[in-house]
């Protein structure tokens, strides 16, 4: 598995905690977490990341907005969006070109690892 810097954006503290642990577990992924889109953008300004994993529904700018911002700043950055499949679907259309992967929730460890590894292996 490659080394990679991952930025995780989610307003749910428990999700941040466990996803951080799961992804860091292999010691090759370095995971930074933040709780909303504006924090994420600050981090992105200062550091380089290989992958952004973001929840769609967040207070303030939502995941879709964040994707749009990222696509302007770092067009090659891989992005995985986490969301409840159906309700978020219509919004997803607008950023389909840019989003690299979609992880429907609720998700388990296998699903999470599979999609992350898959994207970072490319």
């Amino acid at each position: 598995m490659p080394e990679a810097n991952i930025l995780l954006v989610d307003d749910d503290v428990d999700i941040r905690h466990i996803v951080h642990r799961v992804l860091s577990d292999n010691h090759r992924y370095t995971v930074t977490t933040c709780k909303n889109a504006s924090e994420a953008l600050e981090y992105l300004d200062k550091h380089c990341y290989d992958l952004v994993i973001s929840d769609i529904r967040m207070p303030g700018m939502d995941g879709i907005g964040l994707v749009q911002e990222i696509s302007q700043r770092c067009p090659d950055l891989a992005i995985i969006l986490i969301g409840a499949y159906q309700e978020d679907m219509p919004d997803l259309e607008s950023v389909r070109q840019v989003v690299t992967g979609f992880l429907p929730k609720p998700f388990d460890i296998d699903e999470l690892l599979e999609i992350v590894n898959q994207i970072l292996t490319k």
Binding site: D14, Y85, Q86, P106, D108
Partner: protein
């Protein structure tokens, strides 16, 4: 009769009433010596077509026709003073009817007896006119057939007027052709039948008011185009002349108010009278009197004919009104009879007075079954007082606009109905009865129930979707943490087991969440062209892995060359798998599961059926099985979401799921998917 007889004429040897007077009085008065005329007034001379002085010295006998002479002589001999009908003979040889009334008078003291003859032409024989009117009215009211009436009337008028030819024009469409004639030659009728000229396309030519133009004097009379100052028109718009030749010679088209066809004159008719048949300003036609002899008419005769014409016109108007009323009643009756609804009337006490065939069709009662009975017979007992209250409940207008209830048919079937009641009022404003319309609203109720069910499902789905969405994060947390912990190598067994139970529960919860989220879905995610055969084979492959093939036998009945459908194959596979799993679960001891697919010829659809030989679904559950969370299974064996989810997914494709089932024998679920996919939102 004898007003004139009572008044003695105030005579001077040359009385000379003014022309105007003469016209009004129409008395021709002559003094006789023996039977010779020694003096006469202008009217007398006029009457016989002589200049004033010419009549002096003539024998009275010369002034009447030979047939009248004998009677005349007898009258003079006997000094009979009763009016004698005679036929006068004019200077030009024409004849006219009149009454001779001799009055004996003595001249200034001389012993000579002088007979003053008051010759009254057109003596208004009121009795005769009365008889004629009575006969006409009798004819009108005893003839049921218009043709019969007109034929008899024409004959009567001919007799009465003593004219050669009598015709009646009546309205037909926009023209006034001859309805009946006596004495007119065929050719005349043919040529004169139409008053209205038509253009090249056969459309009537219109006048300046936009009405069809009626030509000729007949047209004038019918349309009321006349100048009352002209002598050949009467005050009320009749036309008459005793000499068409003279009339044509002395007047212009303008005077006569129209371009006349002059046919009557061409055929030799000299005396022509046209009497309009009209009520108010509504024309019905006219009466026509033609005679080749001159001088058939007098103003009095014309007046009489006008009065007869008015009676006839009124009768015609009356007939028209009656017929229109009958037609309207007939229309109403057929409207009521052809209606699907039950339409009935009651007396003021609510007892049925009339009942239509719609009532028989809907409720099974023929008219004789319900007439005289109270409305209560239609409504089950406990609703009777409600219906009775209805009458109390009527609003100020005396109406119940619509009230839902349940009616009882003759066979005892309960039919949901809507009832509308109105009060029928009599002329004094009191209640004469009630009218009611009863509508079968079974279909409407069913449609409402479907809509309600769909709305309920939609609301449930919406709420469930909201909940599911909210819990998806916490579920992820539980699942991820548990799985993470389970990765620890040194877990003791009981801890590991506990964690596994938690993981299992979280996974099941996730399943529920996914089902619910899918259920709340608004539109199929990705409709794509799908081969139904492939789709079903794929489902069966997956399904076979899940079941024990020894117990459940799978039979296939899938048609080849099924039409390609546009659908979300993931969703439809979900639905089919759901049905297959349910079918297997219905047969815990094993059995036969049949899956079939065929094209439905009429419905433009593909039918997929899953049949099992399992326990079946009891009737009381059948209507609930598509409800979300409804399950008869044990806790943990299923979410109870499968069928409601399947229902929603199929609906979203514009299709339907239906079930047939028999307890102990098995169930068949049928999915109908239309070819033309209306991919709309659903539940």
């Amino acid at each position: 009769m004898s007003d004139q007889a009572a008044t003695k004429p105030h005579l001077a040897p040359s009385p000379v009433p003014t022309k105007k007077q003469a016209k009004v009085i129409s008395d021709g008065i002559a003094l006789l010596d023996g039977s010779t005329i020694i003096a006469a007034n202008e009217a007398f001379a006029d009457m016989f077509g002589y200049q004033d002085a010419e009549v002096i010295g003539l024998e009275l006998g010369d002034l009447v026709t030979p047939e009248s002479r004998e009677l005349l002589n007898q009258m003079l001999l006997e000094e009979d003073d009763t009016p004698l009908p005679v036929t006068g003979l004019r200077k030009d040889g024409s004849e006219f009817p009149g009454h001779l009334h001799a009055v004996m008078t003595a001249l200034s003291g001389k012993s000579e007896r002088v007979i003053a003859i008051r010759y009254i032409t057109g003596f208004i024989d009121l009795e005769k006119e009365r008889d004629a009117t009575i006969e006409l009215l009798r004819l009108i009211h005893t003839s049921s057939d218009l043709h019969e009436l007109m034929a008899e009337t024409t004959s009567m008028l001919r007799r009465w007027s003593d004219c050669e030819a009598v015709g009646i024009r009546l309205r037909h469409g926009y023209d006034y052709p001859y309805f009946e004639t006596r004495g007119f030659p065929e050719e005349h009728i043919l040529l004169e039948d139409n008053l209205c000229a038509v253009d090249a396309q056969g459309e009537p030519i219109l006048d300046s008011d936009g009405n069809p133009l009626l030509e000729c004097m007949c047209g004038n009379v019918i349309c009321g185009r006349y100048d009352p100052n002209k002598s050949f028109f009467t005050e009320s718009g009749s036309f008459w002349t005793n000499c068409t030749t003279d009339l044509l010679a002395t007047t212009t088209d303008k005077d006569r108010m129209v371009r006349t066809r002059n046919r009557c004159n061409g055929e030799g008719y000299e005396s022509v009278a046209l009497i309009p048949l009209r009520v108010g300003d509504q024309p019905f036609g006219l009466l026509q009197f033609n005679d080749k002899r001159k001088g058939r008419f007098t103003p009095e005769l014309i007046d009489q004919l006008q009065r007869l014409g008015n009676s006839l016109a009124m009768a015609l108007a009356q007939r028209e009104a009656v017929m229109a009323l009958q037609e309207s009643e007939e229309k109403y009756r057929s409207l009521v009879e052809s209606a699907k609804e039950t339409i009935l009337t009651t007396d003021p006490k609510g007892r049925v007075a009339s009942w239509n065939s719609g009532g028989q069709a809907m409720l099974g009662y023929a008219a004789e079954d319900v007439l005289g009975k109270s409305l209560a017979v239609l409504f089950p007992d406990n609703a009777w007082s409600e219906e009775f209250q209805l009458i109390q409940m009527m609003d100020q207008a005396g109406q119940v606009k619509s009230h839902e209830s349940v009616a009882l048919s003759r066979e005892g079937m309960r039919i949901p109905v809507e009832l509308s009641i109105s009060t029928i009022r009599n002329e004094r404003g009191g209640v004469a009865g009630y009218s009611a319309i009863i509508r079968d609203i079974t279909e409407r109720k069913q449609a409402h129930e479907q809509v309600a069910r769909a709305a309920k499902l939609s609301a449930l789905g919406h709420m469930a979707g909201g909940i599911a969405h909210e819990i998806s994060s916490p579920i992820s947390t539980i699942l991820l943490h548990t799985q993470f912990l389970l990765k620890e190598k040194d877990l003791d067994d009981s801890l590991r087991q506990d964690l596994e139970r938690i993981e299992g529960a979280a996974t099941r919860t996730r399943e529920i969440v996914n089902h619910v989220l899918a259920f709340a879905r608004k539109a199929p995610a990705k409709p794509q062209p799908c081969d139904v055969e492939h789709l079903l084979e794929s489902c069966l492959r997956q399904f076979s892995n899940e079941i024990d093939q020894a117990q459940v036998t799978i039979e296939r009945n899938i048609e080849t060359a099924l039409p390609i459908l546009l659908l979300d194959d993931v969703q439809i596979q979900q639905v089919v798998l759901n049905l297959l799993r349910n079918a297997a679960q219905a047969m815990p001891e094993g059995g036969v599961l049949t899956i079939s697919a065929r094209a439905h010829p009429e419905e433009d659809a593909v039918l997929i059926q899953v049949t099992d030989t399992g326990v079946g679904i009891p009737p009381e559950h059948r209507k609930n099985i598509f409800d979300p969370f409804f399950t008869t299974k044990e806790i943990g064996e299923g979410t109870g979401l499968g069928l409601s989810l399947s229902y929603g997914l199929v609906e979203a494709h514009g299709g339907t799921i239906e079930v047939e089932s028999e307890v102990g024998a098995g169930s068949t679920f049928t999915i109908t998917l239309p070819l033309t996919l209306a991919v709309e939102h659903s539940a």
